[in-house]
């Protein structure tokens, strides 16, 4: 349960509190600067400058925004269901905070080292939906309700490929630990990737994980629950001030959590490429660099791809990602059972990843298709 010894020989619960405070502080700094970084990056992609006025290069923009949000009036609509409305932001935030508790940021450094780390992350993340549904139901607003239904449908659908793609990696750890038993412990999973990250062996699983992650985070092109041009603002349309910023905090905190989680499971976490014996500062820098790379790619995709429609989104999850993830699981099972070389894992998975990319490009470039990714109709075509 515990990582090594408590710091300075303190009782384990004080040690836990210190660790939680550190993790939460890092998360807060990330949230403040990722909003700034996102605006800067998006501005660059659109040939603008982004925030420039507050401080040098607009560096204090995040803090200014935070102060502004705290100062805003906290409005509760008359029609709202009081307690459900007021508790919803906390119900969405707590699961995300809990997932941060098991992530290893450096060798043996996290809040708690659970043997069931991977399982813990997706078991607790599932509770996130409850908070979103509470926000939608409690607001007494049809737009909020629609946003919550969309969010719930989307998150439930994409949770399956997400979990199966993680299982693919967990299967492979069984071949690496030596005794044939896999591990769900995130710290061990990172350590096992000392020689090569699992993205090399499982590119398809990584693609599926990444897509499902975008969907779980409601990031573009899967930002249907918060689509401002369709349903105003999604499930948190009625919130303002501090409660609205709780939702925003949740969004960016879960982005941070997912980025660190993805970098630990697929990109080698703190262990690759400098090895398990490297200095802790180097390990920390490695994890952060990988996580930030994932965040940058998420923002990059946001500026590149237009938003999907809800039926396209559902079709993509149930007809493409689910099948490919199960295929990956079965192929992994066969290869691992017969102890075939690991190069075969990488090869089959790369073929699958290529197929997925081919499918996306073909459907994205077609003018009008009726297929796996949903029906597109050209303007003027009669709809029955």
């Amino acid at each position: 349960m515990l990582f090594a010894d408590p710091l300075f020989g303190l009782p384990s619960w004080i040690d836990a509190i210190i660790r939680i405070v550190i993790v939460v502080l890092v998360m807060t700094v990330f949230v403040i600067y990722s909003t700034y970084g996102e605006r800067k990056l998006v501005a660059r992609f659109q040939q603008r400058l982004g925030p420039m006025r507050t401080g040098p290069w607009g560096l204090w923009q995040g803090f200014a925004d935070a102060i502004k949000l705290v100062g805003k009036e906290d409005i509760r609509p008359k029609n709202a269901d009081r307690w459900v409305f007021e508790l919803a932001p906390y119900a969405t935030f707590i699961p995300v905070l809990l997932t941060l508790m098991v992530l290893p940021f450096a060798e043996n450094w996290g809040v708690r080292n659970l043997a069931l780390g991977v399982f813990f992350v997706f078991a607790v993340l599932g509770l996130n939906i409850v908070g979103i549904l509470m926000a939608g139901l409690g607001s007494g607003n049809k737009y909020a309700l629609l946003g919550a239904v969309r969010a719930a449908a989307q998150m439930i659908s994409y949770e399956i490929p997400l979990v199966v793609s993680l299982l693919c990696v967990v299967m492979i750890t069984g071949a690496d630990t030596g005794n044939g038993v896999g591990t769900l412990n995130l710290n061990t999973i990172a350590a096992l990737q000392e020689d090569r990250p699992y993205i090399v062996l499982q590119p398809l699983a990584f693609l599926i994980f990444f897509t499902a992650m975008l969907s779980e985070l409601h990031r573009a092109p899967f930002d249907i629950p918060v689509a401002e041009s369709e349903i105003v603002g999604g499930y948190f349309v009625e919130y303002s001030g501090i409660r609205w910023s709780m939702f925003q905090l949740t969004e960016y905190a879960s982005m941070w959590g997912f980025a660190v989680f993805g970098s630990v499971v697929f990109l080698g976490g703190w262990a690759w490429p400098f090895g398990v014996d490297s200095h802790w500062a180097l390990q920390l820098a490695t994890t952060f660099t990988k996580a930030l790379a994932i965040v940058v790619v998420i923002i990059w995709i946001r500026t590149t791809v237009p938003r999907l429609r809800i039926d396209q989104l559902m079709n993509f999850s149930w007809k493409v990602l689910l099948e490919l993830s199960f295929l990956q699981l079965i192929v992994n099972g066969i290869i691992l059972y017969y102890d075939w070389p690991q190069e075969l894992l990488a090869l089959t998975s790369a073929v699958g990843a290529g197929f997925l990319i081919f499918l996306i490009i073909r459907h994205a470039s077609a003018r009008s298709t009726k297929g796996l990714l949903g029906t597109y109709r050209t303007l003027g075509a009669s709809s029955s």
Binding site: L116, G126, I129, L137, G138, I156
Partner: protein
Amino acid sequence: MATEVIWWIFALGIIALSAGVVFSRSVIHSAIFLIGSLAGVGVMFVILTVEFLALTQFLIYGGAVTVLVLLALMLTRADPSGRAEKVNGPQAPFALLAGIGVAAVLLVAALSTEWAGNTESPTNIAIEAISQRLFEDFGLPFILASVLLLVALVGAIIVARQEEGE
């Protein structure tokens, strides 16, 4: 000692939340109390050091079943504002009877069973042991259960499916 205090806090919390499920005037409030109550049971499993069961409780009951309940409430009711409505009908005495019956059966079963292992200070069971029992010793029943679930899933899709041209 500390564990016992925590146990009592959560036990009272679960009872309060369960009472909330029964006595709250809005169905949505009931559903949310139910989530809290089931999550409290998950915490009880943590106190008993069966992490796997606790996480399964959070995943299945916290994340899946109650979300299903909330979604069903959302889709079936026209008024989303969670206003108070009449939830008690003529079925109330029968529901009470059924509740007492189930509680009695569970109590008798729990008290009359000779529990294996040390109930005073439970020990953690490794996930490897659970998976070995599940996938090796009881492999066939496990597969049969999953086939049953799959059939139910396919059946649900066929029932719910919109026919072409409808």
